[in-house]
Symmetry: C2
Subunit: 548 residues, 2 copies
């Protein structure tokens, strides 16, 4: 067999050549803050695949701002890979023609602009991913040439401390460090000795002290004072009709006020039902402050976290029995491991959405907003690769099928009219229009109907997994659809049948009085209350304080 | 709200107390080899959850043998968590009543004994898991008290080098290190300076030099001389009828001779079809030696590996453009990241099984053998959390559904009569009997019918994803069932219909002559040929050598 001549270390040679260009700027692995633009121009080549760390909270903001200042004649046509598009310059680099293509997971505050730029042809969309599939591709067909990440501290050798906000940093560094990619890290601080090492120096090529600490936002903090009585009613139904009904032990909560209400009702309403120790013990969750009362009153056994949450540092450090905390006393988060746990190892995912169609498919992508999904679809689907059983999982098993197995509880909790006073239930998801507009291969559905086992509204709970036909499924959704157009199609006869079959339960079926859903039931009604529950360890960011 | 008094660092205190008991035996983090039994008796308490590293290849064999020698009066009722039950002492500890309960993924050579011990009540089964769900539970409801792992080298400080066989070590260490569990590591060698750091010393509590290097087996090496012409025929059909048909770019191969045949046909038969560069470019794969000719002839762009394979070290080190290799020149494998990539980021999983039922459900668990599945179900299912598309994925999309999406190709490749001369197709999987026998909640199915898109036998290919009914699905399997009882139910009329609908293709439909399926088509026909392809860099273990 003829064997072509070939070099097998082209990436390594190329990396060495690039690094040689800045050897005069380097002291050990360090470069000066004010040299970063020169460094980026030397190390990044046109067409490179570049991972720019934009976690949910932590942003490699010094590096993203610096990338936006490079000369587009030198650095262009970059293929950006970002789990989160969070900052203006994440898109400015496309306006400046430094970058041309993007693969991402979540867009958040930049979702309108993302949508517009794709429509205008300023940005070529690779695809929208869930977190795990984006990380997976870093080892398959999106292997990065350069990664730009953020750490809290580095020592002189270049070992990194990511601490509380470890998030995705080790994963994206690994993809580059072991495939002759270049790892560039901005650090808040250089110290002689690190509290602990999260990423070894050998995985790092260039360390640059940032001009100021990386941007970090308390994105998942929900102020209890904004929780409504309608949300409290829904939370009571969820606790009694789902958590208790199925014996849910392990779970992930979304980040909305609905699930914050559940967290704050466990120590009060949950306790009155005698559920303590029986439900909601093991969590995968960003450390929401609203979970504090449930922890303090002994409901929670463990919490693994995808990332940190500003203000929770001291509280977590003082609760190592609950959180994952290092020998240094600081939490270690890990987005990849948290997502795996959230997909495979929990009984339930419960969250909210912006639209549900009449079949129960949901999306947070709405007209003009290409927001992506983050991790929701990882956790909000029935994992076909799961083989172990738990009581909650098993409670959804089809008993008539000899080869049947359990199912993950995937719960959507929505008010029938959303924040914009529009019905949450729509005949066709906006995702279909966005698919056409953005030229996507498939409609950007967040959670598919087939995976959605329960929907909770202020009207009641639809136990969709019990429906035996598509028509019955739709009728069940209509029955809890309130006065939305879909809800108005529901008849008393249909409702009675569905209640009789146990497919729909109203508050009265669950023994819940609507008039009992009072704010006084919340274990904490304000941020101050949360601080008090935490023995003063929770330190809310200024914007959540009513005092100074 | 009343707030109970409570200590929040009980695990940390307990850990410190345990470590204090051996402080007189420790020099830094090191204990002497001959002190290990005393150390284990001091650090492990009755009822502990203990992760014992049994990877596919790498075994913490010194620690497992030592655990089997502790005094059962001191250490008992352990709840063992093991991805692989591989060695006799993994079960001896149950005979000796040191351990009582097990959660695992794969049993391999010990599967008969596992089955027997569960039936005899000597071992209580938690559950059988895929790798990812077992790792996920380490952060949710199976948080370990102690982990026993193996590394190649440690430095004086206790930093670890796991090199080539990193596998699952960092993941299970992380679960303990950040939840006040105790991390005990056996090392082959203590050195002044490590080639690189895979796990920082801060994550490690106790290092013990092993009496001899950890056990390591070349489990995934398939000698080309054992590949049959029937397997070559099937491989030709797979390449033309599946890889080329769907444009499969990224994939995982199982570890059987069937897929080894495909690897060895790419440079010959594949090249003759003009497929080079068009298919099978990005892989997640243990570094099977049979992939060498495809690499050398330029078919392969990248390979990420779950673990290593004995003998491939030097070859991989010389091919950093293909494999994930560190700055030290040695591969870094990572089972968790590889499994994520294999689940979410590849077009196809193709593997073999021991039984298929008439609907297409498969299992490797057969009567008397509780073997488990390892990672096959992670990769061999249609991932409900995937949102990005690729041409192969998209080629299976249901075009009639506006909210439709692509599907992963999950291919089973089997001869109609298995190695034991029994039909591979059975009316009922043995898994159903094993379920009852072992008291499992659900039948241990490896890959479900709903996820299986293609079956290849020596008779032809069934494109199951095209079947529109259960009856048609079963007919398609029967049509390629040969002279098995299921195959004999297929009629000429049914076959003609299925061929006409494109649901079944015979070799002649693919333009393949059965008589062309010759061993001479294999790019390497012996292990020697593989060594030659590798420029002498592949160093086969003794048992695969015909020379000395």
């Amino acid at each position: 067999m003829e064997k072509p001549q070939r070099n097998w270390d082209t990436k390594r040679v190329q990396k060495a050549q690039r690094l040689a260009k800045i050897s005069n700027l380097m002291t050990g692995k360090y470069v000066e803050t004010n040299q970063i633009i020169t460094v980026l121009e030397a190390l990044i080549a046109p067409g490179d695949k570049v991972v720019l760390e934009g976690d949910n909270q932590k942003q490699a903001s010094f590096l993203s701002q610096s990338l936006n200042l490079v000369n587009p004649k030198k650095v262009n046509h970059l293929h950006m890979i970002m789990s989160s598009i969070s900052r203006p310059e994440h898109l400015d680099i496309f306006e400046r023609k430094i970058a041309s293509k993007i693969d991402f997971s979540y867009a958040g505050a930049q979702s309108v602009r993302v949508s517009q730029m794709i429509e205008d042809g300023k940005m070529k969309l690779g695809d929208i991913h869930t977190y795990l599939e984006l990380y997976g591709r870093l080892f398959i067909d999106l292997i990065p040439n350069v990664v730009l990440v953020a750490a809290d501290k580095a020592d002189k050798a270049g070992n990194l401390y990511t601490g509380f906000n470890t998030e995705e940093t080790p994963t994206i560094v690994e993809a580059a460090a072991f495939k002759d990619g270049i790892v560039i890290v901005q650090v808040n601080e250089v110290v002689d000795e690190l509290p602990r090492i999260d990423i070894p120096a050998g995985w790092v090529d260039v360390v640059v002290p940032a001009d100021k600490p990386y941007e970090l936002e308390a994105l998942f903090t929900r102020d209890p004072q904004n929780i409504t009585e309608l949300q409290i009613l829904m939370a009571m139904m969820a606790i009694k009709g789902i958590y208790a009904e199925h014996g849910v032990q392990s779970l992930n909560h979304g980040i909305g006020f609905n699930t914050a209400a559940i967290e704050l009702l466990l120590p009060t309403y949950g306790a009155s039902l005698g559920l303590k120790g029986k439900i909601a013990r093991n969590w995968v969750l960003n450390p929401h402050p609203t979970i504090i009362p449930a922890i303090e009153s002994g409901w929670v056994e463990s919490i693994h976290s995808f990332g940190g949450e500003v203000g929770m540092e001291k509280y977590i450090a003082a609760r190592p029995d609950i959180f994952f905390v290092g020998q240094d006393g600081t939490m270690r988060s890990n987005r990849v491991l948290g997502q795996i746990a959230g997909q495979y190892a929990v009984d339930m995912f419960i969250g909210s959405t912006l639209q549900l169609d009449y079949d129960g498919n949901s999306s947070t992508v709405t007209r003009g907003r290409l927001s992506g999904f983050g991790g929701a679809p990882n956790m909000g689907h029935n994992p076909g690769g799961r083989r172990h059983s738990t009581p909650a999982w098993q409670s959804l098993r089809d008993q008539d099928n000899a080869l049947g197995k359990g199912q993950k509880l995937v719960v959507q909790m929505v008010e029938t009219y959303g924040a914009n006073k529009k019905p949450i239930f729509v005949e066709n998801l906006d995702a279909l229009a966005v698919q056409k507009q953005a030229g996507l291969a498939n409609a950007p559905v967040m959670i598919y109907s087939e995976d959605t086992t329960h929907i909770v509204t202020e009207e009641g709970i639809a136990y969709l997994y019990k429906a035996t036909s598509k028509a019955q499924r739709q009728a069940a959704i209509a029955a809890i659809g309130g006065v939305t157009p879909l809800g108005m199609t529901s008849t008393k006869e249909s409702l009675d049948q569905l209640r009789h079959a146990g497919i729909v339960k109203l508050p009265e079926d669950l023994g819940i009085k609507r008039s009992d859903a009072k704010r006084s039931l919340l274990a904490a009604q304000t941020i101050d209350d949360l601080v008090e529950w935490s023995d003063g360890l929770y330190e809310p960011p200024m914007k959540f304080r009513t005092w100074s």
